[in-house]
């Protein structure tokens, strides 16, 4: 049997957080991508949008930049999650080597299937 996926357990209580900082314009696009992935996989989950306002909050939440998406507490890009907490735009490295201010659809889907 393969790894557990949310698709295999529709309606399962998966917790999804999208942490963002208003100073970076990419979070609405990331939210759109996340919503698409959830719809595609038939996952009916609430996405908690959490705004980070201060350096202190960024430190406390271990917020490596905006946007940060956590699924059941796990970052969709574990490598980038270790970056210094800051009010900044987060850097995502895509599979083809390009840099992006949002994770790829594949990164989100992979995180949903963990």
């Amino acid at each position: 049997m393969g790894g557990r996926t949310c698709t295999q357990f529709p309606g399962s209580a998966v917790k999804i957080e999208l942490l963002f900082w208003e100073g970076c314009p990419s979070y609405p696009e990331a939210r759109g991508l996340l919503d698409e992935a959830l719809a595609e996989h038939g996952i009916d989950a609430e996405v908690e949008m959490r705004e980070v306002f201060t350096d202190e909050e960024a430190e406390e939440l271990r917020f490596p930049g905006s946007p940060t998406i956590r699924i059941d507490g796990r970052d969709v890009d574990p490598r980038g999650a270790e970056a210094r907490p800051a009010l900044t735009c987060r850097i995502y490295h895509l599979a083809d080597g390009r840099v992006s201010p949002i994770p790829s659809r594949e990164q989100i889907e992979e995180a949903l299937s963990r």
Binding site: G23, A86, T88, C89, Y92, V99, S100, P101
Partner: protein, 176 residues
């Protein structure tokens, strides 16, 4: 308040990643001067850096000089220090000057908001185009090449087809 079209370029004298100071007078021979509010740590800048290099390479022989400058607060964003700028320029093979505006005076004079944000000055050093490099951070999806179009028009003594666009990117990190 952002510098208006037709206004003249503010004077500057800033340290570069090459260890030298660079003033406005150093670019006196340039037909067109492209100043880019930039930085190290922003993914939007990193996504557009390749196009900045390509534009400098493609237009150098027509007298265009592209100069990037970084005004971010290095206390809160140490990734934008002059040392880190030097590493970035070397690592990415920048073919343009990269200057540090540590006291943020140039960014204030421009009224910059984002990185990257482009300011194109003509032979009289008057602002003729301000805004984004093109319309998509993904090079393969860009369809409106604002900066290239502005350079082509100005080099042909014509008005740029688009003179202002909203810059898209990270905010300039002002000192508190």
């Amino acid at each position: 308040m952002t510098i208006a079209l037709s206004q003249t370029v503010p004077s500057f004298d800033l340290p570069g990643v090459d260890g030298r100071s660079h003033s406005l007078d150093d670019y006196a021979d340039a037909e067109l001067l492209v100043l880019v509010q930039s930085c190290n740590h922003c993914p939007y800048v990193q996504a557009w850096e390749g196009r900045m290099k390509a534009i400098q390479a493609d237009y150098a022989d027509r007298g265009v000089r592209l100069v990037a400058f970084n005004s971010n607060d290095t206390t809160r964003y140490p990734e934008d220090s002059l040392d880190e700028m030097r590493k970035r320029a070397e690592g990415q093979g920048f073919n343009f000057d990269y200057l540090q505006d540590e006291d943020q005076s140039l960014a204030r004079a421009f009224g910059s908001e984002r990185t990257p944000e482009v300011f194109v000055f003509d032979r009289d050093r008057r602002l003729r185009y301000h805004g984004a490099i093109d319309d998509n951070r993904d090079e393969h999806q860009a369809s409106q090449h604002y900066l290239r179009d502005a350079l082509d028009a100005l080099l042909a003594d014509e008005e740029p087809p688009v003179t202002q666009t909203p810059p898209v990117g990270c905010t300039v990190k002002w000192r508190s």
